[in-house]
């Protein structure tokens, strides 16, 4: 059994946790409450600021029209496709760069340029090339996640402990063995971390894409809402996006925990 002092210590930790959570809860309730009150007593103009109740009604309305899940589904689908593709293609390209150091040296400045370029600037070109539809949206999101994945994963590859490489070479390992038995497994945490970054990167790309072209999705809701000056719809879109982004982030965190148990 624990000593009294230790019990006190545990109690204190638990109390801090509860206190932090309650404060967080209080902030959101106060924020929504004050917003609703100000809107109710017409201190603020609900035409441009909307109100929590109007947002909720809009979301319920979308749900009743059977559109809510459709919009969320489209956005989530596009995001998942582009972040899986982005991670996969990025890792493959990073592997090729590791395998051919000459290529890596040659491509280095081009990667830097592509990485610093705001990908949204390529939007119009992408639409012309890939058509005004889901392909463009996925391509846009892919472009954002793939470059950052190449750079991060390649960095992970070349930062592999040189002593471990020496060890592999002392066992006369082939280049493929060094890659498959050492480089790839030791970079696993970096790759999984890339997944996490890519979820948010892909979501940014998808929403940007939906702003430019689309007739469905959360980005479309926000864009459409702003065009018809329906702030309730815009705010509802943003709130839904917050929830979707948070859930996706936690899903990937959960996958991350399962995959890197032993590291």
């Amino acid at each position: 059994m624990y000593s009294d002092e230790h019990k006190q210590f545990l109690k204190k930790i638990r109390r801090t946790h509860i206190f932090v959570f309650l404060t967080q809860l209080l902030i959101i309730i106060a924020f929504l409450g004050i917003w609703q009150l100000l809107a109710h007593f017409e201190v603020i103009n609900t035409f441009i600021s909307s109100s929590p109740k109007a947002i909720l009604d809009t979301i319920v309305g979308l749900y009743l029209d059977n559109n809510l899940w459709n919009h969320i589904g489209i956005t989530v689908y596009e995001t998942i496709i582009s972040f899986l593709l982005g991670t996969f293609i990025g890792t493959v390209i990073a592997s090729i760069l590791w395998w051919f150091p000459f290529l890596a040296k040659v491509l280095d400045p081009y990667l830097t340029i592509l990485n610093s370029l705001p990908k949204v600037a390529l939007g119009p070109i992408i639409i012309i090339w890939a058509g005004a539809g889901m392909n463009s949206i996925i391509l846009m999101a892919l472009l954002i996640s793939v470059i950052i994945t190449i750079i991060n994963v390649y960095q992970g590859f070349i930062e592999t402990d040189p002593n471990k490489i020496k060890l592999m070479k002392a066992f006369r390992a082939t280049k493929w063995q060094i890659f498959s038995k050492l480089i790839l497994p030791s970079t696993k945490p970096t790759i999984i971390n890339a997944l996490k970054i890519n979820v948010s990167m892909s979501l940014i790309g998808v929403i940007m894409g939906e702003f430019l072209v689309s007739k469905e999705g959360i980005g479309y809701l926000i864009m459409y809402g702003s065009q018809v000056f329906n702030l309730d719809l815009v705010m509802a879109g943003v709130i839904i996006l917050c929830i979707v982004a948070t859930i996706m982030y936690y899903c990937v965190s959960w996958i991350e925990k399962r995959l890197i148990k032993n590291i």
Binding site: K166, M168, F171, L182, N262, I263
Partner: protein, 251 residues
């Protein structure tokens, strides 16, 4: 000692490193023979090129000149200062790495490794991960990983320098016992004179860069046994003194 056969002879080994700034001679006219079952220690000032010799022997680096001749089918095992255990593999999987790479992993060789782990007190940790082991235990795992491929000659590159002093004494004692029991020849690079004198049959003192042989000592001590006991022998201090003078360090 004299009736044992030669298993490795090095003649006039040379190594030059090339960088943008120019070339550096690391090893120059280095010659010596290793006898079967012998433990040789190389000591020398830091950065003198001791490790280069081991790297050349196990094929990590190309030599610039000289000859290295050995009996056919001689294999090397290389052990480094860092244990370099793979964190994502269990202790057993780590020890099987060499066998996996050389394609000689089968039930028999696997059992040999398991037996080694059991013999040297790591049996309970076969399925553990390296992060659960102490530094000393990790270094013993690294030795077993090296022994798994049954090398004839072990090349030890400052194998204990990453350990704290007490662990270092204990682990060097363990490693010494293991090597003697498995009848292995070994070349160890170290900068720790007491470690060299207490473990080796011969100590070779190297000069400053470019590294050449300055002196060779046959270590003969009354009541020579394991490294920790050897440190108590009466000849120990005089060897230490002579080698220290040979090193001629002006710090």
């Amino acid at each position: 000692m004299q009736n044992k056969k030669n298993i490795l002879s090095i003649r006039n080994l040379k190594k030059t490193y090339h960088t943008k700034r120019g070339e550096t001679k690391a090893v120059d006219t280095f010659s010596f023979n290793l006898l079967d079952g012998e433990f040789v220690a190389l000591v020398g000032p830091s950065g003198c090129g001791k490790s280069t010799i081991l790297s050349i022997l196990c094929g990590l680096e190309e030599k610039s000149g000289g000859t290295v001749s050995f009996e056919e089918d001689i294999t090397y095992g290389y052990m480094l200062q860092q244990d370099s255990l793979f964190e994502w593999k269990t202790i057993l999987e780590n020890c099987l790495l060499g066998l996996e790479i050389t394609g000689s992993l089968n039930d028999e060789t696997k059992q040999y490794v398991i037996d080694l782990l059991n013999t040297y007190g790591l049996g309970d940790f076969i399925d553990s991960y390296p992060s659960n082991l102490s530094g000393g235990m990790r270094q013993r795992v690294a030795l077993i990983r090296t022994l798994a491929t049954k090398p004839d000659i072990l090349l030890l590159d400052e194998p204990f320098s990453a350990l704290d002093y007490q662990t270092r004494l204990a682990v060097s004692d363990d490693v010494f016992r293991i090597l003697k029991k498995e009848h292995k020849s070994a070349i160890m690079v170290t900068h720790d004179l007491s470690e060299a004198i207490s473990m080796a049959d011969r100590v070779i003192v190297l000069s400053q860069r470019p590294c050449t042989i300055k002196n060779i000592y046959e270590i003969q001590m009354t009541g020579k046994s394991n490294p920790i006991e050897n440190r108590k022998c009466k000849e120990f201090a005089s060897y230490y003194d002579r080698i220290w003078k040979d090193l001629d360090l002006h710090v």
